[in-house]
Symmetry: C2
Subunit: 333 residues, 2 copies
């Protein structure tokens, strides 16, 4: 795969965004976030998704100039309306606001409604962790899988993110409620690969590892079976309540996914202890995790986010991996 | 199974607690919580666990008179030390405090360290929901399963709870990070039943449904495989940082589980919208979930907490189910 210097990738994405009507500072932020997702190996929300974002920009279904407005709140809890603006811009703003609230109040929580796909949720967790906070956020989505006990697609896969700050590399959990995110299934299908474990049901209702079958049946397996289904439901309900926005079943009525609801929480742990104390506690936990004997020789246990960090460092040294066809597609945009 | 009026069960539990040195108001709260867990069908943290709690009381490893003390905080975020008091008392206090903070600040977050097993975490989520708040809480535990990629027991199963208020029955997610909690595996083993899906690995490293094998290998399957393992790690780190208390690997050094770390978050959604608006939003979500066609005729899709509520209502009408041997055991305590 060709490799591109990070800054060249950002410039190229920025050029395309500006050309299609997104002005700075939004264009600069969106270009950086897409490039970072690609740099970090989160290909499902990097260049694979970028042409779709450009198509959305051109569709007029999104307001490329909107800023979120505060529509309510009390102290450390605020409700914002994303006014159908750029999802990445709104999400980045909302986590920034949660961090500001956490500086004042110890913890900050922002509900964001009428917003659009944030692409990689982990980006906003990392944003909070960069500010020394624990970052927790989640989004609802259009229904993408059946609730446990049904084959009817009726719940979102509602990714949830938890990031814990650590100077040598934040801990980062970024997970959809399906065992494999749709973006991941699409990548595997394109690569002609199977899911490493059963990822859902085929059209006959049998568990399968064929990503194409799962995408066709629309029955991805929730993580932990009934547990992930239940988690998706409570996250959806909480997102709708905190933001005053739509739940997944209401998004479904639109036919396509827009005007979703999100929650952003930042916990200012440095208000509770010195930065050195916090660093030592997280490092001790990571060090302990690394002492667990690996099942496969040469594949040590990793802390959440460690694999991503390894890809990032490689990208920083060698350039960001970009598929040839993506580069061509990008240059034509 | 015999059935006992709820109030009789509370009285009997209260008698035993007082006899073994726990005074009111702690004895009254603990008796009520254990009885409610049994009433709600959460047998793993009802009478199955009660004799163990009494043994803990008698062991002197717990201070039956301790109250948590505030050891730090900023605004809506507070850090408390549980001073090795009664876990249920401390957890109930901490969620109550998070709710108080949420009334003032919109959201409240309490870290609690040096506390003991809270039994059923869902109880504290329901407590927040009863107060009109979204309740989120989690605890770390002594290591109970291997992290993904190892067979060494090195991470807790760190239950996480999310409750969403609803007058006709709160939404409640209460899940351990293992597909089946150890308490559940113990119940199934005693009943001679298998787990409904693979629940972990046997001593040869193969997936199995035999609860005895899983308890023996100490390799329960994390929910969503690597995802539940990662979630357990970030919850542990967050609990240790917010409370300033021990992480799972430090609890492990003690040999037995005590002095754990917990986080309690309450989000005061009624500060953002009228109670009627909130009720309507959650009811619409539940109603939609109920329209999904069931895979098995006569087994409609349930919202998280619905099955529990059904057992509770049955217990309220007919009395609380108690096994004969538990009743005998209780009377001898």
């Amino acid at each position: 795969m060709p490799r591109l210097p990070f800054s060249d990738l950002v410039s190229e994405l920025h050029r395309v965004l500006v050309r299609h009507g997104l002005a700075d500072p939004r264009a600069a932020l969106v270009a950086r976030l897409f490039a970072e997702n690609q740099r970090d190996g989160v290909f499902s929300h990097g260049l694979n998704r970028f042409p779709g974002f450009v198509a959305l920009l051109k569709s007029g279904r999104l307001d490329p100039t909107a800023d979120p407005v505060r529509v309510g709140g009390l102290g450390a809890l605020e409700k914002w309306d994303g006014r159908m603006g750029v999802g990445l811009w709104n999400a980045h703003f909302a986590m920034g606001r949660a961090v500001e609230l956490a500086r004042l109040h110890g913890i900050g929580c922002v509900g964001l409604r009428n917003t659009n796909h944030w692409m990689r949720g982990g980006a906003y967790g990392l944003q909070a962790a960069d500010a020394g906070c624990i970052g927790i956020c989640w989004t609802n989505t259009i229904p993408l899988m059946p609730p446990w006990g049904s084959a009817d697609v009726a719940i979102g896969n509602n990714p949830m993110i938890i990031a814990v700050p650590r100077p040598d590399g934040h801990l980062l959990l970024d997970m959809a409620m399906s065992q494999f995110a749709n973006g991941k299934l699409e990548v595997l299908k394109r690569q002609g690969r199977e899911t490493p474990i059963a990822g859902g049901f085929d059209r006959e209702g049998k568990l399968t590892r064929d990503p194409g079958e799962i995408l066709a049946s629309r029955r991805p397996l929730p993580i932990g079976h009934w547990k992930g289904s239940a988690l998706a439901v409570v996250l959806d309900a909480a997102a709708a309540l905190v933001s005053g926005g739509q739940a997944s079943h209401q998004i479904a009525q639109q036919g396509t996914e827009y005007a979703v609801s999100q929650v952003f929480i930042a916990i200012n742990v440095t208000a509770l202890a010195g930065a050195g104390e916090i660093e030592a506690a997280v490092n001790a936990l990571v060090d302990h995790l690394h002492t667990a004997a690996p099942l496969v020789a040469g594949e040590p246990v990793r802390y959440p986010g460690e694999g991503m960090l390894r890809v990032r460092r490689e990208s920083e040294q060698l350039g960001v991996s970009v598929e040839e066809r993506q580069l061509t597609e990008l240059r034509d945009l």
